[in-house]
């Protein structure tokens, strides 16, 4: 069986074991995650669904290395991120994770191209390289003609495309998308989902957090969460 164990870490890019997260509010404790164990394979387009307060966002924050669990273990690409320092976490976020937010979160003072290039700035990639790559990514998401426009000059759908391009900038292991269609109309939302779906076909792994059941059809795996636990798999 040893040959199998050797292969395992390569198959699962994320493994979590009995992850808990407890928030302290004064003297009260709030158990946001209550022992979550989950493995994610490369190429998965995984949806985590659940009502608000179910812990899905907390779980995503832990997977995205924005936060550390109270207990339990998280392995990202074989690295134990649950015990890393702030700067190490920042580096992991920059290199291995791409974020897509409901509110797009583009830097308002930068044009589309510079927004896409921003993760590469923090990654220390030379200017010429990152501009070329940012340009290619804008082309990939279909808005290369808007490269020099500020976010305020773009529609919601266009802004989310810029955000997707930005999430791809450092060739991440996994893309975490938190309600990416939440601020978009249905038609634009579908276009964005199709774009994400086409990205997974190129071998990217995407974790989608949503409570919109209509998005299930784009994914290949759905996990339901409730009260800080995984309640079932569809």
């Amino acid at each position: 069986m040893h040959w199998l164990l050797d292969k395992m870490p390569k198959e699962y890019i994320i493994e979590t074991h009995s992850v808990t997260k407890i928030y302290k509010m004064g003297k009260q404790e709030f158990r946001a995650l209550n022992g979550v164990s989950l493995n994610i394979k490369k190429g998965d387009f995984l949806a985590i669904m659940g009502p608000s307060g179910s812990g899905k966002s907390t779980f995503m924050n832990l997977l995205g290395c924005l936060d550390r669990p109270t207990s339990g273990e998280i392995l990202l690409d074989g690295e134990r991120t649950s015990e890393m320092r702030d700067n190490e976490l920042a580096e992991v976020r920059g290199k291995k994770i791409g974020f897509i937010f409901q509110t797009f979160n583009l830097v308002p003072t930068m044009n589309a191209l510079r927004n896409v290039a921003l993760p590469m700035v923090f990654g220390g990639i030379p200017r010429a390289d990152r501009e070329k790559k940012a340009h290619d990514l804008l082309k990939k998401v279909g808005i290369e003609n808007w490269a020099t426009h500020l976010p305020s000059e773009l529609s919601g759908g266009q802004q989310q495309r810029v955000a997707i391009a930005r999430a791809l900038a450092n060739d991440p292991l996994i893309i975490l998308a938190d309600e990416p269609t939440g601020n978009l109309d249905r038609k634009t939302g579908e276009q964005v989902m199709k774009l994400l779906s086409s990205i997974t076909k190129e071998g990217k792994t995407i974790l989608l957090v949503t409570h919109d059941h209509s998005l299930k059809k784009y994914t290949n795996r759905v996990i339901n969460m409730i009260d800080g636990r995984i309640s079932g798999r569809a």
Partner: protein, 435 residues
């Protein structure tokens, strides 16, 4: 990467131009006023030094009064004798000594015909020797210097015109000088002083209006009983002296005081016991001017510092507002790989850029403000004196510009530390959720 973060902080400033400008104002006022003060101070100081140097920087005045700081000379006390003058001339670092016999005049008269007089109230005549002219740096334009024992005077250009500008007194003219005691002395004008080239306020103060020999004009005597014979000795209240060179002014002063207070001097016998001998050097006056100027500039600098502190608080305030406003952006940057240090630098660059710009604009405002003040002073100088052709030259002290810019950056950094730390310490999860 630092370069990129630097340019990102510029973006933030550029996208809020009015806010950036308003934040700058406080720093600009502070730094501008420091530059104005130092520019005006340096220029005026060099102007004053220049003016004082026209008449001998090695000069000093010897009198009787109280040796306080500043010393006081009473003009009505008389103690020095010709013997003292001769003895003091021999002191190692003393170049020359001259009596300054002050003769207040009742009038200067001109005989215009038989029994027809023209009379003008006169000022002060100086009964002295030719040495005083050297000490004061005065030159004779027309004619020659007066001779001791003769009824001759040298007059200033303005005195030559007291009977009318159209008929000025000439060398060789006869005038009548009436002393305060009523005695009138028929006098020949033998010379007219040259107006000093950079005629200034200060040289005008000490310019001699009428100068003549001690004998026969001056009569202030002591009765001295030597061996039963009553002898009259001429006494002076004020002497003027020069030192060998600038470096030995204090030595000369000390030698003079030592001599005067020794038993060898006549003055110690004639002076009343409560008075001191006082020597006021040109350098002392200069140092006093310096002191007054530095007190003034310290005062204004203190005010400028207050406005810089206020400016700094303004920067801190706006930086806190910016950090709060950009909370979500900070969260996003952290999510896409920005380290805490990157965020810290981003905001520190921003606040130090405000400081730097405040410093640069402050220097520009200060430089033009300084030039404006010197221009106003020069206009004023021109207006108050027909005699004043002196001009203050605008002098910028470059070191203050460098200090100002560095100080501006420093204020920006200091003011930015707390807001930048606040930004860098944010929890990305909470920052991303911020509405």
């Amino acid at each position: 990467m630092i370069r990129d973060i630097f340019f990102m902080s510029l973006d933030a400033l550029r996208s809020h131009k009015i806010r950036t400008f308003l934040t700058l104002v406080g720093v600009i006022i502070g730094i501008g006023s420091v530059i104005i003060v130092t520019t005006a101070g340096t220029s005026v100081k060099s102007f004053i030094e220049e003016q004082w140097n026209i008449f001998n920087p090695t000069g000093m005045v010897i009198g009787i009064g109280t040796a306080t700081d500043p010393p006081q000379i009473s003009f009505n006390k008389v103690a020095f004798t010709d013997h003292d003058i001769a003895e003091m001339k021999k002191l190692p670092h003393v170049k020359d000594v001259a009596p300054v016999g002050l003769l207040p005049l009742k009038a200067v008269k001109l005989k215009e015909g038989f029994l027809k007089w023209q009379s003008k109230p006169g000022g002060t005549m100086y009964a002295t020797t030719s040495a005083l002219l050297d000490i004061l740096g005065l030159k004779i334009d027309q004619g020659r210097i007066f001779q001791e024992g003769k009824k001759e005077v040298v007059i200033s250009k303005s005195i030559s015109q007291i009977f009318g500008k159209d008929k000025p007194l000439q060398v060789g003219d006869t005038i009548y000088i009436q002393r305060i005691d009523g005695k009138t002395i028929k006098t020949t004008v033998v010379g007219i002083f040259k107006e000093s080239e950079s005629t200034s306020l200060l040289s005008q103060v000490t310019a001699l209006s009428i100068a003549g020999p001690v004998n026969p004009y001056y009569s202030s005597y002591f009765g001295s009983n030597i061996g039963g014979i009553l002898k009259r000795i001429t006494g002076y209240g004020i002497l003027s002296a020069t030192a060998d060179d600038k470096e030995h002014v204090t030595d000369a002063k000390n030698e003079i005081l030592a001599y005067l207070n020794s038993s060898k001097s006549d003055a110690i016998k004639y002076k009343d016991k409560n008075s001191d001998f006082v020597v006021v050097t040109q350098q002392y006056i200069l140092s006093k001017v310096d002191q007054i100027m530095s007190v003034m500039s310290m005062l204004i600098t203190a005010i400028a510092m207050i406005s810089l502190v206020v400016g700094g608080i303004g920067i801190a305030n706006i930086m806190f507002a910016t950090v709060t406003e950009r909370t979500r952006e900070i969260g996003t940057m952290m999510a896409i790989g920005a380290k805490r240090g990157d965020i810290l630098r981003l905001f520190l660059f921003q606040s130090s850029m405000i400081g730097l710009m405040g410093g640069i604009f402050g220097c520009i405002i200060g430089a033009s403000g300084g030039a404006f003040i010197i221009e106003v002073l020069n206009r004023y100088l021109r207006e108050i004196g027909t005699f004043s052709s002196g001009r203050i030259t605008l002098i910028y002290s470059s070191e203050w510009f460098i200090i100002a810019v560095i100080f501006g950056i420093a204020i920006g950094i200091v003011a930015g530390v707390l807001p930048a730390r606040k930004a860098a310490k944010m929890d990305p999860v909470i920052a991303l959720r911020y509405e």
